[in-house]
């Protein structure tokens, strides 16, 4: 502007020389000519600088919009300029303060506008004018309501200025794009022409808002009126009211100080390179243009075609991939490549049809508007691409500068280890002591330096040493943790904790941490290490979670096959608890440790994580690929280890630990179980009847309850056998023990003591009962103390008690249950822990596999409870816990871990002991409630509907015709009993649970044998109306059996 000053000095009245300057000045000249300077000065606070900028921008705009915006505007309002000037108020713009000062200083204004004004005036007027101006200014500010927004303005004052409901409103009016200013000026002109007819207060065009102007008016109608007839304003479109709250925002100006400097990273906003990373090589602040370095996306073929004048498809559907320009390649395609020297920098560029290339990069000059420089986070890959072999250090610095720009507040924290990367103190390491605004006080680690040094934040970089354990706090691998292996400049290489892979990250993105995480471990519903079903019916284990996809190790045993899978490609998660058979036909369940004996991964060993369709996913810690997962056929693995030692080794501690936690599960479950579950132990009853028990006379040790540890001779069997520890051979089941056989020492049938658990109502009595029962136990089980209980249930209970010998069955069970031997070691030991409730260690292991009969025989729960706290008693059972942790496939949905389905199939063969005792004991049967017992014969009654389950066949419904003395039943198949007649062992039949309003037969209690109608079900109780007496009774559901409809 200095030359303008010169003009001034020359007293050159001539306006014209300025003409070429800027449009803004232009306008003002017009004005000046008009001789109405004073008036103008009253209303125009500032014009010059802001205007210049805007015009500059508008040039750019023109580039983009081809708009006649600027031109049109000029054309539109210039003629009226002089009168219009008084209405222009641009006070709101940023630099108004400065401008005002200038006006005060008036005389030696070097401001372009002022100068112009002056040049327009006859010289002699000058002095006068100045005085007049001064006066007018003073007058103006004296009366002006304008308040200067200096620092002293308090919030309250500011608050008072905010628009309220009484103030005129701001309306947003749509206008032609690029003609916002024109529209505003048109409105102004209209106002001038029409005077107060027009009831609008002001019109505002914002540079950053295209397509709209704001009009200040009291009513919408006023706005409409004002806009009527203006070409550039779409008056018929909707006029929107700006909410009062937002009014201030409309007019507040955000200073967008874009700090673009060389070597910063930016992203392109438009065009072919949209989104691409670019590096600024030159900035022209005056012209608002920057030269950036890009990786070119040029389709050489298309270029060649174009240059040779061949037909080029106008629209290219695709964006050519970014790759470095190869000049030789271009030459080969007969594209003319010129080598030119840049006049300014002196560098040589290859010029291909107007595009400049150097070292394969494209150098492009673009408007500042077409790049974004805020929040650029170049990824490592992008930076790598930009990095040239020769410019290591340079590249580092470049990315550094960007990193610095992107640092958040509070980037450094006290205690961080830092290194100085710039300046004289470069490479000095230290620790952050204090952080101020931009300065960081560090305590250097070198001798002879002051205690703390204040260093600019930008000169610092975080520093890590190999071996530090760190966490990535931002960037692509955010969340991952690992140990620093190497530090390269400000890039650190980390060994990820989970993947054991190298991660390269910027030191700035890392923080020291002792935490161990894997980064993101889940997307949507799927988590790392889940077994998932994929779209195409294949399945696999998620072995890695990437930003938007999973790596899945597919279930193909022949070779490890990894697929990258998107979230939507996953059909569902598979968490079914299945099991499979290993090489030697032993069952394998989840968490079993297996060794692979065949196939590519032979020799590996680890716990089974998932089983699906006979494919095992094994986790081997030493297997480093695929996150340690190995996929193998179940047949090519063998289960390693057994239950031996588990109980002993870990069981004890765990058991006791868990037993506290496991309380509540058991009791509640039982009711649900009724239908199939726990049969009464009829066997025991028999025995009672017979008055003979193989245990009698043997020495036993009481294993649980208050008398735990006591030994004694069995006088009579009234004992819950769970409390008896059997001889060693039996009590420590060993995998290799022959499967069928050993157990046999308990001749009796494992009883499932029945009722207890489910007879909820009974529970308390049960507690009572047990509490006095046990003393008898102490007396080596004297006599049945509890015969005369009135309550039917009690009675049942009492009678049931003898059964308890059955309890000890578990082991037996284990012994002959084919599944048992293989019981998964892992699970089992938890289950097995003796401490967990009454079940003997052996017992549990057996249970999971053997559906036949349920581990948690209610009785055992009962047994435990000796203390009389019956309700609690059931609970300690560890099942729930153990299973939850290591769900065995056998117990599909039973949280409690009691597999209920007595699968007699497997079971029976072994049972020999069980059956014999059944017969005869009709009288004792009181309780025989539920289905599924081994001793069903005892309690099965003619005419009831049963499910017959035989090995290898599906369950068939049938009607019991006759109960044979050996406990088996003759059954007519079919729901009405008109099918084939078969003989089924008692353990092969399940009673069909009656539904409401079914005809039922009472299977236990005093009314055993009588029939009735089930008129309601209340939890585990059924409400039965007896046929004979018409009495309504509440009976346990488990002693009710459905009666076949048609005899």
């Amino acid at each position: 502007m200095s030359h303008r000053r010169r003009d001034d000095d020359d007293d050159d009245d001539d306006v014209e020389p300025e003409e070429d300057e800027e449009e803004a000045l232009d306008e003002e000249e017009d004005e000046g000519k008009s001789g109405r300077k004073r008036r103008r000065s009253e209303f125009i606070d500032d014009v010059a600088e802001e205007d210049e900028d805007e015009d500059e921008e508008e040039e750019d705009d023109d580039d983009f919009y081809n708009g006649g915006g600027g031109g049109g505007r000029r054309g539109g309002h210039r003629p009226k300029r002089r009168s219009a000037s008084q209405f222009i108020d641009e006070e709101a713009q940023v630099d108004s303060d400065g401008e005002e000062e200038e006006e005060d200083g008036e005389d030696d204004e070097d401001d372009g506008r002022r100068m112009h004004r002056r040049t327009l005036l006859p010289r002699e007027d000058d002095q006068v004018d100045v005085e007049a101006l001064e006066r007018s200014i003073q007058a103006r500010y004296a009366r002006s309501s304008h308040i200067e927004y200096d620092e002293e303005t308090t919030d309250v004052e500011q608050q008072a200025l905010l628009p309220s409901v009484r103030d005129p409103k701001l309306w947003m009016v749509k206008c032609a794009i690029g003609r916002e200013r024109e529209a505003a000026v048109c409105l102004m002109q209209k106002y001038i022409d029409k005077g107060s007819e027009l009831q609008i207060r002001s019109a505002i065009a914002l540079d950053h808002l295209k397509n709209y102007i704001y009009v200040e008016a009291d009513k919408e109608a006023h706005v409409k009126e004002a806009c009527k007839g203006l070409r550039v304003i779409y008056a018929n479109t909707k006029i929107t009211l700006v909410p009062i709250k937002e009014m201030t925002d409309v007019l507040s100006v955000e200073s967008k100080a874009i700090d673009l400097s060389r070597d910063t990273w930016v992203r392109m906003k438009i065009g072919t390179y949209k989104g691409d990373l670019a590096k600024v090589v030159d900035v022209d602040n005056v012209r608002q243009r920057v030269t950036v370095k890009l990786i070119p996306r040029i389709d050489l073929q298309a270029l060649a075609n174009k240059l040779e004048g061949r037909e080029v498809p106008k629209k290219k559907a695709f964006v050519p991939p970014a790759r470095f320009m190869n000049v030789d390649e271009a030459r080969e395609m007969h594209i003319r490549v010129e080598r030119r020297r840049d006049t300014i920098t002196g560098d040589y560029f290859e010029n291909i049809s107007g595009m400049m290339f150097k070292d394969g990069f494209l150098y492009k000059t673009v408007s500042m508007k077409s790049i974004s420089s805020q929040n650029i986070q170049p990824t490592f890959d992008e930076l790598e691409k930009f990095r040239q072999p020769g410019e290591n250090g340079d590249g580092d610095m470049a990315s550094l500068s960007t990193l610095f720009a992107n640092r958040k507040k509070g980037h450094f924290m006290k205690g961080d280890q830092v290194i100085i990367v710039k300046g004289d103190l470069r490479n000095l390491k230290g620790w952050v002591e204090k952080v101020e605004e931009d300065n960081v006080h560090i305590r250097p680690n070198a001798e002879g330096l002051p205690k703390t040094l204040a260093v600019n934040e930008k000169e610092l970089c975080k520093y890590f040493e190999p071996g530090n354990h760190v966490k990535v706090v931002s960037g692509a691998s955010e969340g991952a943790t690992g140990m620093v292996i190497k530090v390269e400049g400000h890039v650190v290489i980390i060994l990820s904790d989970t993947t054991k892979e190298h991660i390269r990250v910027f030191a700035d993105n890392v923080a020291e941490s002792s935490e161990v995480t894997s980064g993101v471990t889940r997307i949507g519903d799927y988590e790392l290490h889940d077994l998932v079903m994929l779209d195409n019916m294949s399945f696999g284990v998620i072995i890695r979670v990437e930003s938007e996809a999973f790596q899945v190790l597919k279930g193909v045993p022949e070779r490890p096959e990894v697929a990258l899978v998107k979230l939507r490609e996953i059909k569902c998660k598979l968490d079914r608890r299945t099991h499979a058979q290993d090489h030697s036909k032993n069952p394998v369940s989840v968490k079993d440790v297996v060794r692979i004996v065949e196939g590519p991964c032979k020799g590996n060993q680890g716990p089974v994580e998932h089983i699906f369709r006979g494919i095992l996913f094994i986790y081997d810690r030493h297997h480093l690929e695929h996150a340690g997962f190995i996929c193998a056929k179940s047949q090519s693995c063998i289960v390693v280890g057994g239950s031996r030692g588990n109980g002993d080794r870990n069981g004890d501690t765990l058991a006791s630990r868990f037993s506290h936690l496991r309380t509540p599960t058991r009791v509640p479950q039982s009711p649900g179980r009724l239908p199939r579950g726990v049969p009464l132990d009829s066997g025991a009853r028999h025995r009672g009847g017979r008055g003979h028990d193989p245990l009698v006379g043997t020495t036993v040790k009481i294993r649980q309850g208050p008398f735990k540890g006591y030994r004694g001779r069995v006088v009579d069997v009234k004992v819950d056998r769970h409390h008896i520890s059997d001889n060693v051979a039996v009590s420590t089941p060993y995998r290799s023990v022959p499967r069928y056989g050993t157990g046999s020492e308990t001749p009796m049938h494992p009883s499932r003591t029945p009722l207890h658990p489910y007879m909820t109502p009974m529970r308390d009595p049960g507690g009572l009962f047990s509490s006095f029962f046990f003393p008898s136990l102490l007396l080596t089980c004297v006599a049945d103390a509890c015969v005369s209980l009135t309550n039917q249930f009690f009675f049942a209970f009492a009678t049931a008690t003898p059964i308890h010998d059955g309890m000890r069955t578990p082991m037996r069970d284990r012994a002959w249950n084919p599944y048992t031997p293989m019981s998964p070691p892992r699970d089992n030991w938890e289950d097995a822990n003796p401490g967990s409730w009454g079940t003997s260690p052996q017992y549990q292991p057996g249970s999971p596999p053997s559906r036949t009969y349920e581990a948690p025989t209610p009785g055992s729960g009962w047994a435990n409870t000796p203390g009389g706290n019956y309700s609690e008693a059931g609970t300690p059972r560890d099942n729930s816990h153990a299973y939850a942790n290591a769900p065995s496939p056998y117990l599909p949905s039973t949280p409690g871990g009691q597999p209920m389905t007595p699968s007699s199939a497997s079971y029976l063969p072994g049972t020999p002991g069980g059956q014999p005792m059944t017969p005869g004991s009709g009288g004792l049967d009181v309780m025989s409630p539920v289905v599924g017992g081994d001793n069903e014969g005892l309690w099965a009654l003619p005419d009831i509907l049963v499910n017959v389950r035989r090995s290898g066949e599906d369950t068939v419904i049938g009607v019991v015709r006759e109960v044979l003395p050996d406990g088996s039943c003759r059954i007519n198949l079919g729901s009405s009993g008109n099918g084939d007649t078969v003989v089924a062992l008692s353990s092969e039949i399940d009673i069909v649970v009656p539904r409401k309003s079914d005809k039922v037969k009472i299977m236990g209690g005093a009314q055993r044998g009588s029939t009735g109608k089930l008129i309601g079900i209340d939890g585990s109780d059924g409400i039965v109306k007896e046929d004979a007496t018409f009495e309504v009774k509440i009976l346990e559901m488990n002693i009710l059996a459905k009666v076949a409809q048609s005899g």
């Binding site: 071996g467 480093l624 501690t653 203390g867 300690p876």
Partner: protein, 174 residues
């Protein structure tokens, strides 16, 4: 580094073990429970060398288990940063190699392998110098320096380097 130290543990013993050889049972169980475990603080318990004292047992309500506070002497092994160890290579891949020194797994990244050793893939992946005089493959014995440890509740994992004087493959051709 190995330490001989006295640790304490509360042992829970099942009542079935009560009897004459309760103490033996207790010790046997202690060994089973403790040997081979790893605690972040002390490292791996390599072996129990003796029992200092067995406190009075406390019967736990409800379970009948008895808790004995047992003080025992044991040898523990805990790797430290900067420690030099000899280890056996268990696995070699392009990222580096894993080695084991007793119970400790140590990873040596390829960044921490001397630059003149290059990864050779194949049946027996290995790192070899250009003149083929030195080879690191599975089962090789190496001397390495631990530069970082990560201590979990149940595991100690280390990273090591052989990029230093006197580190690298042991024996054989050297």
């Amino acid at each position: 580094m190995f330490f001989h130290m006295v640790l304490e543990r509360n042992m829970q013993l099942h009542p079935r073990h009560f009897g004459r050889d309760l103490r033996e049972k207790l010790v046997a169980k202690l060994m089973k429970d403790v040997e081979g475990t790893c605690s972040g603080r002390h490292g791996f318990v390599v072996g129990i060398t003796g029992i200092e004292s067995v406190g009075k047992g406390l019967i736990r309500d409800g379970t009948g288990f008895v808790t004995f506070p047992v003080k025992y002497q044991c040898v523990v092994f805990r790797p430290f940063k900067g420690e030099i160890l000899e280890a056996v290579v268990t696995m070699v891949n392009k990222m580096g190699f894993f080695a084991e020194a007793g119970p400790v797994q140590i990873f040596v990244s390829n960044h921490l392998i001397p630059d003149d050793m290059e990864f050779q893939s194949g049946d027996m992946p290995n790192y070899t110098t250009s003149d083929r005089s030195v080879k690191i493959e599975k089962e090789s014995e190496v001397r390495l320096k631990i530069i970082g440890t990560r201590v979990d509740a149940t595991e100690i994992f280390c990273i090591g380097t052989i990029k230093d004087d006197f580190l690298g493959v042991l024996g054989g051709d050297q």
